[in-house]
Structure formats: C-alpha cells, structure tokens
C-alpha cells in the first residue's frame, strides 16, 4: 500500500475510533449522574429546582469530554 493511502486509512480509522470509544465514558457517566438526580428528586421533591440546576452543570461538564473526542476526530480528518 502506498504511503498516501496508508495515511488516509490511518486518519479515517483513528477518527472513527476516537469518536466511538470516546463516547462510551461520558455516556455511562451521564446515565449514572442523571439517575442519581432522579433519585434525589424522588426522595425530596422540594429541592427539585436546586438538583436540576446542578444536574445541568454536571451534564455540561461531562458532555464536554465526549466533545473533546469529537474535536480530535475533526482534527484527524480535516487538519492532519
């Protein structure tokens, strides 16, 4: 295989693997966190507003990790 095609193969494979494997962790983490927020709201409905605000902060921070994998995939395809 000539080096150009091998480089193209490597880039695309890397991009796919990066996004695919990089979405596992945040997916699991988001599920755990939202589940715990639901449990907290079910146990004590008065604090639903506070719990919901903090849950959104947590969602933003953990989804950012999945988006780092997306940015790495973008860099692999378009820049490198």
């Amino acid at each position: 295989m000539d080096p150009e095609a091998a480089k193209e193969l490597g880039k695309l494979l890397g991009a796919g693997l990066s996004m695919g494997l990089g979405a596992i962790g945040p997916g699991v983490g988001l599920g755990i966190m939202i589940g715990k927020a639901l449990e907290a709201i079910a146990r004590q409905p008065e604090v639903a507003g506070d719990v919901r605000t903090n849950m959104f902060i947590g969602i933003g921070v953990t989804e950012a990790v999945a988006l780092y994998a997306f940015v790495v995939a973008l860099i692999l395809i378009f820049v490198a």
């Binding site: 605000t53 959104f56 902060i57 933003g60 997306f70």
Partner: protein, 284 residues
C-alpha cells in the same frame, strides 16, 4: 369488516409511500458538510498591523447579535408597564434567570460586582447561539446560510479568555497576588505533596480555559453538522421517501438544537460564575 373506509385509506397511503420509494430521486448534488465552516470574507478591509480587519461571516454575525440585543433591550426599556406584556415578561424572566439562577445561587461574595459580566456573557452567548439557527443571507453569493458566531473557535476562545482574566483579576484584587497563588496548595499538606498539588492546580486552571472554549465551540459545530446532514439527507440518499420520512426527524433535531443553545449558554455563564466565585472566596 367493521370500518371499510379505514382499510381503503390505509391501503392508499401505503401504496403512495411505496410509489415514493420507487421513484428515482433527483440528481446527486455534491454536499460537503465542512463547507459551512469556511472563513468567508464579505467586505475587504485593509490590514492594520497583525490584524486583518476585513468583515468576515463571523464578524457580521457578531454585529447582528449585538444589534439584536441592543434593539430588544431598548424596545423593552422604553415601555415598561406595571402589568408586563409577553415580551417584557420574557426579558424579565431572562434577567431573573441570570441574577437568581446563575449568580446568586453559585457565588457567595461579589455578586453585585460580577453580575454585569456574567449576565452579559449569558445573554450574548444565548443570542449568538439562537441566531445561528436562523438562515441569514451571509453565505457565498448571498445565499442563505446557517452559521453561528460561536461555532468559531476564535470567538469562544475570546469569551473564555475574558472569564480566565477576570477570575485571576478578582482573586488578585481581593487577596493580593502572593496569598492568592499560595492558596492553590492546601495549607495542611506535607512539603513535597504541597508542590505537586500546587502544580496540578496550575494545570487545571489552564485546562479550564481550554475546556470552557472547546465545550461551546464543539457543541455548536456538532449541532450544525448534524442539522446540515439531516436537512440534506434526501439529497444524499436520492429518494423521495427518505426525504418525507426525515421531515419529522429534522424538526425534532432542530428543537433539540434550540435546547442545546440554551443549555450551553447557561453552562458557560454558570461555570464562569463558579470560577470567579471560587477565586473570590478561596478559604471557605
């Protein structure tokens, strides 16, 4: 058969859908998702020093966002009523969200001083994100194009730099530079571990800057890329049936993008408030 009309209409609809699937679709048009994010110059202006002053698509969208905010607030402020109408109610709801939901619920001191910055950044990022969902004619050859000003890493990096600079300015202004930097290592820690923890804290401060900017940038870029693919799915598959079936999916994705625009503005503002509040009350 109890209701023969229902069966007939059902069979007609099914036949219509099968006919749609069998009709050959239009010609294949080349569609590149990455073309949406090119730097597209609208007005050429001279270069002053290292800064190229020409008006690009991003600059035009930033101006549009500022114009929308200024016009909306002037319109509301001119006609304040005791019993608010719908528009004034929406503006008041946004203001209360920024003041009570973001600043008062996270920061302990310096609420009044930093509320203008955090409220401003919230409204600006929100309006920029939402304007990116409307097709405005800033595309190539004045075609309507979807583009958000915050879908550009330069814009979000600049907003995150504001937060970064204000965080350290707030901490140094309140505590003095030496005490502020020394407080990054906890006081009751063994000698070598203290330096390591201090160094890790420095790295995490720099990482906050990167994560704040990349979070907003990647959310907007991913949202627009998904929207572009969904809208053009009929062209990619060359089938009318796929185009019809994806109308509903496109609308759902569009509603999700509006939700993401709100959430990302809220998260940017509340994380800025957390960082500035954390720098202000370091010894809680």
């Amino acid at each position: 058969m109890k209701h023969p009309w229902r069966w007939i209409i059902g069979l007609l609809v099914l036949g219509f859908l099968i006919l749609l699937a069998l009709i050959p679709g239009g010609e294949k048009i080349e569609f590149e998702v990455a073309g949406e994010f090119d730097r597209h110059v609208l007005i050429e202006l001279p270069t002053i020093g290292p800064f190229d002053m020409s008006i690009t698509k991003t600059v035009a969208y930033l101006f549009v966002a500022v114009a929308v905010i200024v016009v909306a607030t002037i319109v509301v402020a001119r006609s304040l009523k005791e019993k608010p109408g719908r528009f004034q109610y929406a503006m008041e709801a946004l203001y209360e969200l920024a003041r009570d939901g973001i600043v008062a619920s996270v920061m302990k001191s310096g609420k009044k001083q930093w509320f203008p910055y955090i409220g401003g950044v919230f409204i600006f990022v929100l309006v920029s994100n939402l304007i990116g969902l409307l097709p405005l004619p800033f595309g190539e050859k004045h075609q309507p194009a979807f583009y958000a000003a915050t879908a550009n890493l330069n814009v979000t990096l600049m907003l995150a730099l504001f937060t970064f600079v204000f965080t350290h300015y707030a901490g140094i202004h309140k505590n003095g530079a030496v005490r502020y930097v020394k407080a990054w290592a906890p006081s009751g820690a063994p000698p070598v571990l203290k330096q390591v923890i201090w160094f890790i804290h420095v790295v995490s401060e720099i990482f906050r800057l990167i994560s704040l900017s990349v979070r907003l940038f990647a959310n907007m870029v991913a949202g627009h890329a998904i929207l572009a693919v969904f809208f053009a799915m009929a062209l990619i598959f060359q089938s009318y049936l796929v185009g019809l079936a994806l109308q509903g999916a496109s609308v759902l994705i569009y509603m999700f993008e509006i939700f993401v625009a709100f959430i990302q503005a809220f998260i940017f503002a509340i994380l800025s408030a957390v960082y500035i509040g954390g720098a202000l009350d370091q010894d809680h």
